[in-house]
Amino acid sequence: MSREQQLAEKPKSEMDRATKQTEYYQPAVDVSETTDGLVLRYDMPGVHKDNVDITVEGGILRVIGKADAEESGRAVYRETRVGDYRREFSLSEDVDTGHVEAEMTAGVLTIRLSKKEHARPRRIEISTEAQG
């Protein structure tokens, strides 16, 4: 069986996965929660802030980053490959998509998402009786 035939018989989903993988990298991401919202930090070295595309659509947060061109010369070591970054997260209903802040510093993209009012912890003041 030829390689082409083998590939043709692979399930479509797996083919899609393989295709997606060759087009994009998944950047490493840290996700943390604060009292007011969520913080996502993406490692996207080589991406200038003008080449970052952030969209929120249908509850999906999508980040695409375009990396600079590769160095010239013969590669002696190569641990990275040329390509763009892409990663998607689906957001919970509790995230207020109207308030998204993003910042790109030294190849790290930081996205801050706010929680909707009802999802924030509420501070309850405890009144004390005046000491007699």
Binding site: Q21, A28, A75, Y77, G107
Partner: protein, 144 residues
């Protein structure tokens, strides 16, 4: 609260991707920008006619925390990546390596230590090193 929409089992996929690469199953580039775990930062070295260029992916590391040393044909990069997390942040997912790192690489040729220039931009450290005189390719004129 937050799910990865197209790969809920990121680590599993990463491992499978790594296996694909090792076995050469697809014969195509690995989708994840990954090197074996613990290899941070990812480094590329390019050889040019008179120089070697090293690029290291060190996002989020400030230039003061990077230390570079060259000796003969070896180069050592040391540094520390500090967490940016503020107080009261609770992690759901941690994929980005943190802490100190050190890597030593052998270059394709001995280099001239006085010629080394390094710049840090967009999270990538780029080091250009001229080859030592004796290692440079010499053009020899052919007399007729």
């Amino acid at each position: 609260m937050l799910l990865d929409s197209w790969s809920p089992f990121f680590d599993v996929e990463k491992t499978l991707g790594e296996m694909d690469r090792l076995l050469g199953a697809m014969g195509q580039p690995l989708g994840l920008r990954s090197v074996p775990r613990g290899t941070f930062p990812a480094v590329n070295v390019y050889e040019q006619a008179d120089a070697a260029v090293l690029t290291a992916e060190v996002p989020g590391v400030s230039a003061e925390d990077l230390h570079l040393a060259v000796l003969g044909d070896s180069v050592t990069l040391r540094g520390e990546r500090k967490s940016e997390a503020g107080e009261g942040e609770r992690y759901y997912r941690r994929e980005r390596p943190m802490g100190t790192f050190e890597r030593t690489l052998t270059l394709p040729a001995p280099i001239d230590p006085d010629s080394v220039t390094a710049e840090y931009r967009n999270g990538i450290l780029r080091v250009r090193m001229e080859k030592a005189e004796e290692a440079k390719a010499k053009k020899i004129a052919v007399k007729s």
